[in-house]
């Protein structure tokens, strides 16, 4: 029911929205909950386990009950807090976790059987027969579980991430936060003020009290006006600080457009901020806790502070006849506010025996609510007083169990809050978050005047830490009442008393857990699920702890507390994962020939971050194999070109370049002649092969190293490590030149013919023998030419500055075609290298050492190198290690399968009999046979032996012969020719 003359909503702007298909009106500034309450809708949700009817418990983001689903289709958003979501015109809201509807929910039958669904019941049953768990019990349990539902569709909304920096981050904009922000800002510090709510002001928006001689919310407006005019202040409302991390890093979620209808198409829904703050002031206030009295969960029962918020901020009376129950003075304040607004106060029930009269309403002291009635909403309460029982009709009950300072963020770095016996709550431990000062109610300072002063002092502390001068600021006049509270953790009685409303954990469950020796607070939590609902126990943990303490005969401080972990409030996956949809997950790298290659119809495949062509289909070719076979034959008989720019290229320069390379490679490079190229093997210090490639010596002190595409980054890092950490006195520098040069392999018997049509001056075998390198000129542009081969053919790699990459590729392709050649892709490249027995990362897959691939002789005996000592460990040179061999089917047409394993002929295909596995397979159009590289125990000593290849996964079995891994031209005549 809307109360005239109350509230900070804009009554000039009416907004229509729907809830469960029915249309309602609210005003600008309303949340779903305030608008529904204004329409006298109290039933908003069902609980998790017992499907109990529920209304809002709170008026903020900590809400455990009133969770709803917004929107439909791909935008369907479950578990939205009706108490925090602002309404906008056309908003579509649905209740969740009920069937067929909210009023008549079939699953509420669980409530009738609640005695059999007590804490941990599922650990004790559903075990017989065993197979029934997956087939029967679990599906039933799963279907019942969960609150809202995802749509199952891709989330197409745009979200974003950003970074921010400041001297002082102020978290919360109640009196303490505003005062802290004002003090820091006037002192010239770089300030961010973050407020979870849609409006700055905190509790000042919800209380009837003056600050600086004017209504609190007007004082807020003045402060915000001043702050927003300052360059050194960034005001961030609708921004929740969700995590506190090391060295002053904070995670924050800014809700940008979820409260708007028709936001700009480029505007994100939410922004995830990483804020780096030199200092922070936590002024997150406090949350009022419910009281665990019997049947305390009906719609209409909510915290007293929520009742005041609905009344004072939103101008809504959550009931026509409101009762108030509490153990502290806020209960009185609530009753007074209601009465002053003309709402009937049915009774004020104060558990304390001695609280005096308060206002013009009935007051029962030393009394407790011990029962309630009303199936879908509160109708009546039963009160136990010294004089006996009394039933009172009421449709709303405001309960005030005292305040819990919002310590959550202070726990994010393992700080455990400490118990304050006077406040009856936990307060943050000093220094729990380095650089964070806690102020106001979050620190247990409960009066407005105290909070203002505390905010000011916190700002001073923060300013001192960043060496800023403090401006002369004084805190304004405000309410300064003492906080009087008496313990009231649970009320005995017949019915269940809820602690964790959403998860349906009652005081009985906690007591049962204790009886079953789940007495550690963590055990109790995990056994009962107390505090594991979407509010992370914000509303219930302290109460549950008190009940556990009582059940185990310990004090609350001895019982301990569970910790709060990030995030402070749940964060959408799409927000935390913003930008990662589709291609956004990792940057893409493109070779200069990319566009031409795509145009030619070549499927592109990922190679690390790069894209490389798989094969180039020609007309009439139906399968990749046809294209690949053609490309292989083309290279073997004519000439092919392929872009090899993705291979890492590292410029190594300096007086010690040669010596350095000797140290990182197993073999010698200081002896390499200028103008020559050598293959190198690089080990990790653990003795396993890290990478391989060729390195060319361009000058006395100048080498260029190539790495594999996959290994480029790792190798660069490794070189820098070795240089800076092991041999910093060596005078050598590395610069990646991968991007500077577009590089193309030109392979095949006609490769030189082709090149001579491109190069400005011709080359021949004498000027450019196998493994020669040097500068060349093409169209007047200086490039580099390397006579190296990864195909076993007479081949070159030609490099040109990248701006000419596409042009050179086009020129090479044109000339190749004129020679019956063309482009070849990764598939053909793979066949060519397997035929020749060249290894790639398929073979050097991390567990392989030089001995395993038959390259132990490449570890020079003349010098030390990285990995040399480890490679010599006894286990690393054992004959029966899995070692590289070639494999061919005894019947050439029979398939070989990469990933298949080997077994001796006649032996069963079991793990115990395993003889090795295949790493690379191809069909060789040259040999007219499948070929494979693989690792076989003691392989090099088993040449000619027959061995069974078994691929059980795909049902292929082939008898193979172990052979040398180089299938063709073992002498390398073609390469040299």
């Amino acid at each position: 029911m809307r109360v005239t003359g109350k509230g900070l909503i804009n009554r000039d702007k009416q907004i229509s929205f729907s809830f469960d298909g029915k249309s309602y009106n609210g005003f600008e500034g309303d949340t779903i909950a305030s608008a529904l309450l204004a329409n006298d809708v109290r039933l908003m949700a069902r609980s998790f386990k017992y499907h109990r009817p529920r209304g809002p418990l709170t008026a903020g983001s900590e809400e455990p009950n009133a969770l709803m689903t917004l929107h439909s289709g791909a935008r369907q958003t479950p578990n939205v807090r009706a108490t925090a979501q602002e309404i906008f015109s056309g908003l579509e809201v649905r209740s969740q976790n009920n069937w067929p509807n909210l009023e008549r929910d079939v699953m509420s039958v669980n409530d009738m059987f609640s005695n059999f669904l007590s804490a941990g019941f599922y650990y004790k049953t559903f075990m017989w027969p065993r197979a029934f768990w997956e087939k029967l019990y679990e599906p039933i349990i799963r279907r019942a579980a969960g609150l809202g539902a995802l749509s199952g569709l891709h989330d197409e909304d745009m979200n974003e991430k950003a970074y921010a920096f400041c001297d002082v981050l102020v978290i919360g904009s109640g009196p303490a936060g505003l005062m802290a922000a004002l003090t820091a800002a006037r002192s010239g510090a770089d300030v961010i003020l973050a407020e979870d709510d849609s409006r700055f002001g905190g509790r000042l928006l919800s209380e009837v009290e003056d600050v600086d001689g004017k209504p609190g919310h007007l004082w807020v407006d003045d402060v915000i006006a001043e702050l927003s005019a300052m360059d050194n202040v960034r005001l961030m409302k609708r921004t929740s600080i969700v995590g506190a991390y090391d060295q002053g890093t904070y995670g924050a979620v800014e809700r940008v457009s979820g409260h708007l209808r028709g936001a700009h198409a480029d505007a994100p829904l939410e922004v995830f901020w990483r804020i780096s703050a030199k200092q922070s002031v936590l002024a997150a206030g406090a949350l009022e806790r419910p009281v665990a009295f019997p049947m305390n969960d009906r719609p209409g029962i909510m915290t007293a502070s929520a009742v005041r918020s609905y009344l004072n901020r939103w101008g809504v009376a959550p009931g026509k006849r409101v009762a108030v129950f509490g153990n502290n003075d806020d209960a009185h304040r609530t009753a007074r506010d209601l009465a002053a607004a003309g709402v009937e106060v049915a009774a004020l029930i104060d558990s304390r025996p001695d609280s005096g009269p308060s206002g013009d309403f009935p007051i029962l002291t030393g009394a407790e609510v011990i029962d309630t009635k009303g199936r879908l909403g509160l109708k009546q309460i039963t009160v136990r007083t010294n004089a006996g029982m009394q039933t009172i009709s009421a449709d709303c009950l405001a309960m005030s169990g005292g305040w819990n300072p919002s310590v959550h963020l202070t726990c994010h770095m393992n700080g455990r809050p400490v118990w304050d016996d006077k406040l009856l709550s936990f307060v943050p431990k000093d220094g729990a978050i380095p650089g964070m000062t806690v102020a106001g109610a979050a620190q247990g300072v409960m009066s407005t005047a105290g909070a203002l002063q505390s905010g000011l002092e916190a700002a001073k502390t923060a300013l001192a830490a960043v060496d800023a001068k403090v401006a002369d600021v004084t805190a304004p006049q405000a309410e300064d009442a003492a906080y009087n509270i008496a313990p009231l953790w649970q009320v005995s009685g017949k019915g269940r008393a809820w602690l964790d409303f959403q998860n349906d954990v009652t005081t009985k469950d906690v007591k049962q857990a204790a009886a079953e020796n789940y007495q550690s607070v963590e055990h109790m939590k995990r056994y009962t699920t107390q505090g594991m609902a979407t509010d992370q126990g914000k509303n219930s943990n302290v109460g549950a702890l008190a009940v556990l303490a009582d059940a185990t005969g310990r004090g609350i401080p001895e019982t301990g507390t569970t910790t709060f972990r990030p995030p402070f409030t749940p964060v959408a996956m799409a927000t935390l994962g913003a930008g990662a949809r589709g291609a956004g997950f990792a940057p893409q790298r493109f070779i200069t020939s990319h566009d031409m290659t795509v145009k030619a119809g070549a499927p592109m495949i990922e190679a690390g971050l790069w894209y490389r062509p798989s094969y180039y289909p020609e007309k009439g070719e139906l399968t990749w194999r046809e294209s690949t076979d053609r490309e292989v034959n083309m290279v073997r008989n004519h000439v092919g070109i392929t872009d090899v720019s993705t291979l890492g290229k590292i410029d190594v320069q300096g007086p010690d370049a040669g010596a350095f390379l000797d140290f990182v490679y197993t073999n010698m490079f200081s002896t390499l002649k200028v103008g020559r190229v050598r293959y190198g093997l690089m080990l990790r210090e653990d003795g396993f092969v890290m990478d391989d490639g060729t390195t060319a010596r361009l000058g006395e002190n100048h080498y260029v190293m190539t790495t594999t595409t996959a290994g480029a980054g790792e190798v660069m890092k490794h070189l820098e490590f070795v240089h800076q950490c092991l041999v910093p006195d060596m005078d050598v520098q590395f610069i990646s030149v991968t991007e500077q040069w577009a590089q193309f392999a030109v392979a095949g018997p006609k490769s030189r013919v082709l090149l001579n049509r491109i190069l400005d001056s011709e080359i021949d075998n004498d000027s450019w023998p196998f493994m020669a390198c040097g500068d060349v000129s093409m169209g007047g542009v200086q490039g580099r030419l390397f006579r190296i081969s990864f195909s076993g053919e007479h081949a070159y790699e030609v490099a040109i500055p990248s701006r000419y990459g596409e042009a050179l590729y086009a020129a090479l392709l044109e000339e190749a075609k004129a020679l019956d050649g063309g482009s070849y892709g990764m598939e053909a490249l793979n066949v060519l290298r397997i035929e020749k027995g060249f290894i790639t990362h398929s073979e050097i897959h991390g567990r392989i050492n030089a001995f395993d691939i038959g390259m132990e002789r490449m570890i020079s005996a003349k010098k030390d190198c990285i990995g040399k000592t480890s490679a010599a460990r006894p286990g690393q040179v054992a004959q029966d290690r899995d070692r590289l061999v070639g494999l061919k089917p005894v019947t050439p047409s029979q398939k070989l399968m990469a990933g298949a394993h080997f077994y001796n002929v006649g032996a069963e295909a079991t793990r115990e009999n395993d003889q090795g596995y295949i790493t690379s397979v191809c069909y060789s159009p040259t040999m007219k046979s499948y070929l494979a590289l693989g690792f076989v125990k003691n392989g090099p000593n088993r040449m000619g032996e027959k061995i069974r290849m078994v691929d059980a996964l795909r049902g292929v079995e082939t008898l193979c012969e172990i052979c040398h891994p180089v299938f063709m031209d073992q002498e390398g005549e073609k390469t040299r020719g």
């Binding site: 950003a162 493109f590 410029d651 007086p655 991007e739 169209g779 500055p801 020129a811």
Partner: protein
């Protein structure tokens, strides 16, 4: 003789604009990585002063102006933008032509720092990052060099092959910042 036509890293991708921010490609005459050998920094600096009128830059700084600028580019390395360095420099430093290795983009406009704040984990607001300041950092998981070359004006360098992704990411941030300021 074969005719080779050059193509710049951001060809067909730039310019772009959104709101008050524009993104354009820069075409420096040459990019030369200069990494002085041991104890040769002073001599390298002298050489650069002769050829480019700039000293070897201090850490996190760039010196010079459009046409001749030396940007600190990481430990022991400067990127010299502009004409060719002296041939003799190879005696003093590892000199590497990087003219084709990097895409150079200029982000300009009142909200340019806000745009970068969506992509770069370093504070680039004018109050702390002014003309002549430079950083090596990341731009959405890509290695980047970012230099403030004037008021609300930044030169951004990413490796050439990342140009398309970098332009896409910058443009997305530009559009979003523009949408939020409406």
């Amino acid at each position: 003789m074969v005719n080779l036509v050059a193509k710049s890293p951001c060809a067909a991708l730039l310019p772009l604009s959104a709101g008050n921010v524009t993104l354009t490609e820069q075409h420096p005459d040459a990019l030369t990585s200069v990494a002085p050998f041991a104890e040769k920094e002073v001599e390298v600096s002298a050489s650069l002063t002769v050829t480019h009128g700039v000293a070897y830059p201090a850490v996190n700084h760039a010196v010079g102006k459009d046409g001749a600028r030396a940007i600190w580019f990481g430990q022991g390395q400067a990127m010299v933008m502009g004409g060719k360095v002296s041939d003799d420099l190879v005696q003093l430093a590892a000199v590497t032509d990087q003219s084709d290795a990097w895409a150079v983009m200029r982000l300009q406009g009142a909200s340019s720092a806000d745009v970068l704040a969506r992509l770069v984990p370093v504070d680039l607001r004018s109050s702390v990052f002014a003309e002549g300041d430079t950083v090596r950092t990341e731009l959405q998981h890509m290695m980047a060099s970012i230099t403030c070359v004037g008021t609300d004006c930044f030169d951004i360098m990413v490796m050439r092959s990342f140009a398309k992704t970098a332009v896409h990411d910058l443009h997305a941030a530009m559009k979003s910042v523009a949408a939020l300021s409406i």
